[in-house]
Symmetry: C2
Subunit: 310 residues, 2 copies
């Protein structure tokens, strides 16, 4: 295995599973994560430490982390909404901990019941705890609703920059904007990302996209142009929202890998094994609809992935 | 109505309808075309003049053209495979006539039973007839399978350039590459289009994309970067191929309009009316699956189309 040009962060076991009504049983989750890692994914967000009442799908997060940490060369990340749950994540030994900081304050309050000041205070406390006791753990902030919000509507770019600056002042390791509800356009991606890079530099290199309006991969192309080198995506496009008919979840990992490899960018992922792993995902969530074009249509005749050329 | 930045050529009544098994009745076609024009589409490919035995869906092409020509400010185009059918198109009074010239010779033979030499001879004869008797009619060549072919596999770019040069020598008005089977990547789009522009200049400004592997809009973003200013697309993404399960047809007009308008590019199309027109399409083809994300998810809260800003 040689190097990769673009990092794919698989978030299906977190963003995907928290967005479907069914709960995947723990053994099925472990089999799925094993299959994702075996396909070459080297960074998987395996769950959230959150209230099991709010998200029963994530109640087994500690068990899932314990298993994922036994997989060689896998970066294991989780999402946490506050200091209390961050403590559980540190104890579990995750490599990366992601904190959602929503640029739309109404969304932040609806999502994690915190104002901007309150969540920034949590971020500061989590970084202090890390510095004191868990120096090897990376902390990243996901700037949710950075491109628009279903509650607030338009989200001004100046608000994104202001909040990114506050997150950077907390000395987190990375900051990435998220198109939480699939509002972003390629023009917006290029403009906002360039501003963010000017503001917080190399800490900003990743992007979290949803495909709600079918613009996910178009936004990837625009993001590559302005130096984004890591993308969150979800195997099988898991995560159709039960409250938005027809809305799909994150961009589909299989289609993202195909896009990047067909552009000559090495992802380290074996697309055929990734497509085969859909049956393991499907077995763990019987009846749940999976998304993705390449898995349905097949690879082009004569297709050579960038990995094989390199 | 002010100017537009990007032209959308609606090809649903041709590429879409020829790819579904059901035949839409003529009155339903006319209602659909009326609704598309009323939504602001100013260029519609309304059918093909071809053998009614081969494509019974297109048997009423002359009637459809006759009606479409009564719609104010509408450019009416049709596809024709040879001189004989071109004569029917000229007689019908279309504004634009498109000839498919497949870069993959095995595909050309399978599709229209002509070698490269034979189809170029037809193009030359059609241009000669136009020059002699129908000087107002535009002739365009669609370079089918320019990005790959399900029969031949990889299609060398040099073959595309060679055939584009031969088409240009015939003095057609425009030449556009087509990703007939959804193999193209953004990298390929940028590279090939730049070479084509160097070779045939301004005659090359349009692109025909399919969304078979979900890369359609990603390819649009790449194409805009290299100066493409016109795209074929299909209302409702009509055209799922019965021989390729899960494969969709052309890129979806609704999603394309949303992409472009959200990028600040004026299309002249009223996206809400275009989405409403799906019910007219659906009524004309009961039971046929329609595609598209924006129609399902709705427009973003606070969305302002470029048209309204201009």
């Amino acid at each position: 295995m040689t190097g990769t040009d673009v990092t794919i962060v698989e978030v299906g076991p977190r963003d995907g599973l928290q967005s479907v009504e069914r709960t995947m049983a723990t053994p099925a989750k472990l089999r799925w994560i094993d299959a994702l890692a075996a396909a070459g994914l080297r960074h998987i967000q395996v769950g959230s430490f959150v209230s099991p009442r709010a998200l029963p799908q994530m109640a087994d997060c500690a068990d899932v982390v314990r298993h994922a940490l036994t997989i060689p060369d896998l970066r294991v990340s989780v999402l946490v909404p506050n200091l209390r749950y961050a403590q559980l994540a540190f104890d579990a030994g995750v490599h990366v901990l992601t904190i959602p900081v929503s640029v739309s304050e109404p969304h932040s309050i609806a999502n994690i019941r915190k104002t901007h000041d309150e969540i920034i205070e949590e971020v500061r406390a989590i970084v202090a705890l890390r510095n004191a006791r868990y120096p090897g753990t990376q902390i990243e902030v996901g700037l949710a609703t950075a491109f628009g919000c279903t509650i607030q509507g338009v989200v001004p770019e100046d608000d994104v920059i202001r909040l990114a600056r506050r997150a950077a002042e907390c000395r987190v390791d990375s900051i990435h904007p998220a198109d939480t509800v699939g509002f972003a356009s390629p023009t917006q991606i290029r403009r906002l990302f360039s501003r963010l890079r000017d503001e917080v530099g190399e800490k900003c290199g990743a992007l979290h996209l949803h495909n709600t309006r079918g613009q996910g991969l178009a936004n990837v192309v625009a993001a590559l142009d302005v130096g984004v080198s890591a993308f969150d995506s979800s195997h099988g496009g898991l995560g159709g929202c039960p409250y938005a008919p027809g809305a799909t979840g994150n961009i589909v990992t299989e289609d993202l890998v195909f896009l990047l490899e067909s552009m000559g960018l090495r992802t380290g992922v074996d697309i055929e094994r990734l497509i085969e792993a859909r049956s393991i995902l499907a077995a763990g969530l019987p009846g749940e609809e999976l998304y993705g074009y390449v898995a349905e249509a097949g690879l082009p005749k004569g297709f050579v992935p960038a990995m094989a050329v390199a």
